[in-house]
Symmetry: D2
Subunit: 288 residues, 4 copies
């Protein structure tokens, strides 16, 4: 359940130890906060502890800076890694696309319905095809064509745009270009890609054709954080759809579109709602 009032969300990642729930919840209780939700997970194999705690901002009696400083001081003893997010500070999301519109439309329609809560200052593409979609939703569209020769230069232009628009999250909504490792490193944990297969099966190009040839009985899609190794990043969300022998590779592609768009949108929602913590290559996804 998403609270309607503005909240502060703390994401915590630390060595597992006694008294974490009691100490952390007491810290906030003593500061006068109502705890709206508090979720935890202890990972036995790594000995790590993960927590998501959400507080009503109307209870905040100091500045946000002060709260953060106090929490930092408090957290030292426990070795807390943490970040805090305020839901009234809207995140800024850029969408990168090529020619295919289904994922873009799905994101924009959910954004219009307020299922996806953020600002979308721009859409970037290496092709002009989807400009009219951007226009329908009144979002500025930047067409930055790319060739082998201009690859580095075009990526610099993208990064300049992302920077000047203070972008928090980059969504590759079927953007068919590989990003440089420099880019991916700088935006680690902030670039979400949709791969049109059930990873780790069918990494790389033409997954539907290869799925058809292998004769699989279900096709899938995977949303993951982008990393240097293509299609190897931490998985955020996956889903599948049953297919039959009658379906041609072309029809698998069509069926796959429904899976891709729903998987990507769920991943973007989880990220924007601060429900994801990374644990190495795995993702902890707290439920709404």
């Amino acid at each position: 359940m998403r609270p309607e009032e503005p909240t502060a969300v703390f994401l915590i990642n630390c060595p597992d130890q006694r008294g974490l729930v009691a100490s952390i919840s007491s810290f906030f209780f003593e500061k006068g906060f109502n705890i709206i939700s508090c979720q935890q997970y202890s990972e036995l194999s790594t000995g790590r502890y993960f927590m998501r705690i959400e507080l009503s901002l109307s209870d905040l009696k100091t500045s946000r800076k002060k709260l953060e400083a106090d929490f930092a001081a408090f957290g030292k003893d426990f070795g807390l890694g943490w970040s805090v997010h305020y839901t009234d500070e809207k995140q800024r999301m850029a969408i990168l696309v090529s020619k295919t519109s289904h994922c873009l439309y799905d994101l924009l329609l959910r954004w219009k319905e307020k299922e996806i809560d953020c600002e979308i200052p721009l859409i970037i593409s290496n092709h002009p095809d989807l400009e009219s979609v951007a226009n329908q939703f009144k979002i500025p569209f930047h067409c930055l064509p790319v060739s082998k020769e201009t690859k580095t230069e075009q990526e610099s232009e993208i990064r300049a745009l992302l920077e000047s628009h203070h972008i928090d999250l980059v969504v590759l909504a079927r953007y068919m270009q590989v990003l440089s490792s420099g880019f991916v490193h700088e935006y680690e944990g902030r670039v979400i890609n949709i791969h049109h297969a059930f990873l780790p099966a069918f990494q790389g190009a033409n997954p539907y054709q290869r799925a058809w040839e292998r004769g699989v009985k279900m096709i899938g899609a995977t949303a993951h954080y982008a990393t240097e190794d293509l299609d190897e990043g931490p998985i955020i969300e996956q889903d599948v759809q049953r297919v039959m022998h009658e379906e041609s590779p072309e029809e698998l592609k069509q069926i796959g579109r429904d899976v891709e768009r729903i998987v990507l949108s769920r991943a973007v929602q989880a990220h924007l709602e601060h429900r994801i913590i990374l644990s190495g290559r795995r993702t902890i996804i707290f439920r709404r």
Copy 2:
């Protein structure tokens, strides 16, 4: 994740109010407990707060009685409704069946695999058909035939058996007899029934035949606590399976068997793991 060591599970149901997480978790922390897991849910429409908190019993420094008395005293101020369960005190489950074996087998196989953790001192049936199944798993089998005339008497015999075996949970694994309201009241929240339809659709008899006639495209099953009104009790678990026009009513029944057994087993697991709290006619089901 089910912890392997013995634990104490507190299930709490109270008016929502400030400081519940902090106070309750501090109560246990100060008593020296490690909190293994702590889950909450605030129901806005009823203003109720629900919590499941699980503690390592190896941290218990007093008697269980003392712990309970201390928690009762502590909980008064908050108006806590609560119960506590110790996982090293095995619950005792009775299974009631008629002639159909699929749900019985599923429960017994999971019990053998330790997916279902309890004792099963007896199986009761109004027909002799499944005695050999009970024998395979070395569980005493009681055949108590029933007719219109002997209904009250037979139920008394069942209740006597349940009592003398100190039964905590009664599972109606396709037991095709209606229980008296007296029985259901006495065992409120402790009798789980499987209905072979996706409630509230197709309440009552012959759901597969009626589903076929209505031409539904999915058939389902529902596990629920038994109440006076047949098929009206709080729902614990549901699932469905897609069907096609080719399937005859007889085949729907066969397909349905797979749904029934998995739905019933999941409900029984949730109950035995103390993951269910009732909120009126709704169930709060905490995840493992």
Copy 3:
């Protein structure tokens, strides 16, 4: 698999009897047709036989009239009920909406992607809200407000519009008005409605609120042909989505949107591809 070339589709409904496949397929073979696909179903309980047979139109050596006359003559002995459809004669679909856009968008996006193959000469609504969506896709939008007093008159206007645009299929994409029995009779088997519940559960108004109160663990949607009795018409497609106790009625509604739109679009596709035959209150849905 949808063939790319123009085809003729015969839908046949007759008493089951020996030699139907051989006789019918031979009829077409002798006329020089390549049979692209041929699907059958014998319904034991009614003794009816259903067939869908698809032929390449490039093999047609006579006029369509002549083919139909020949088939009618041939079919008499077998008591064939039948209809024929030519995929190069595009069907004309009208969409009726109120204020909610998700089903409308889904239909229009699939139509643009050519997943839904028809003409859409107009969108009709009792509210002005979705005019901009219609504009985005360059489809004429007719706003016909309605009140208790003007109900009959407004429906007449709708029927006049449908007639003057030679509409083959009317899709109620969350059009929140009940149609008169006269309308429904005239357009029998040609009006598809989406109900936002898993019928026959939660017929009528506010299904998500009632689903929440009943505490169901899955919510669903049902696409069906409209009949006089609201929500009682033959079911074309259904699907469900798992929900948890945390989800509020408002969130069930949001989750339900994804189910509704996919269920409605699949039903519309099946109808437009001539894959549905009615058998009383049940639908035979041949697969692609």
Copy 4:
């Protein structure tokens, strides 16, 4: 829908060409057969045509030998590859297991419920653990322990048993030994294996551990025909189950058991009901 009377099932695989449905159905019609069901599939990319046609055996006026000879003569012109199966000649299935019982139980329970229709003359294992399960169902159990040194010899013993019992289908129900390529060649298309992952992901050993490490959000199982390359054979059936970050590798294994057993049983059913035709590495699976 499975017919209750004995039938003959022809499985046909040939180059696609005009008149196949008409010619084949007429062949049987002229011999006096009622066609119970007739299913086809044209594979565009390979130009192959596949048909499954099922006939009532009560219509057979000649010997089975004569029917086969006549059909062989008829089929020559069309280049038909074909096989025929009579449902009153029960197939004989051997089950190979190691220590894990869930797939074995599932097969045996469905066999007892007559969902799986065959004879099971023996169960073979390299461990003694499951003998009691075999005993419950009164099926002879052969324990053939195996070590690196005795591998060849033990396989010979297995083959001798299969031969002397005239086995038609070998089911590897979590038999954890690799078969020799000689064995696999001899029994091509007659050995079904269950792999506990969603192939082609996680081929080889320890798939649940690796799935956990990769952080996938769904785990699956795959039933396939065994071939020389382990886990590379034609896929018959797949399914998946959603998992969360909380689930340990051990719990993935438990959840996976439910997927494995249902996937294997569906594959075995499809094979025994003569609903599978191989097309290279792909399987054509006709529906019931």
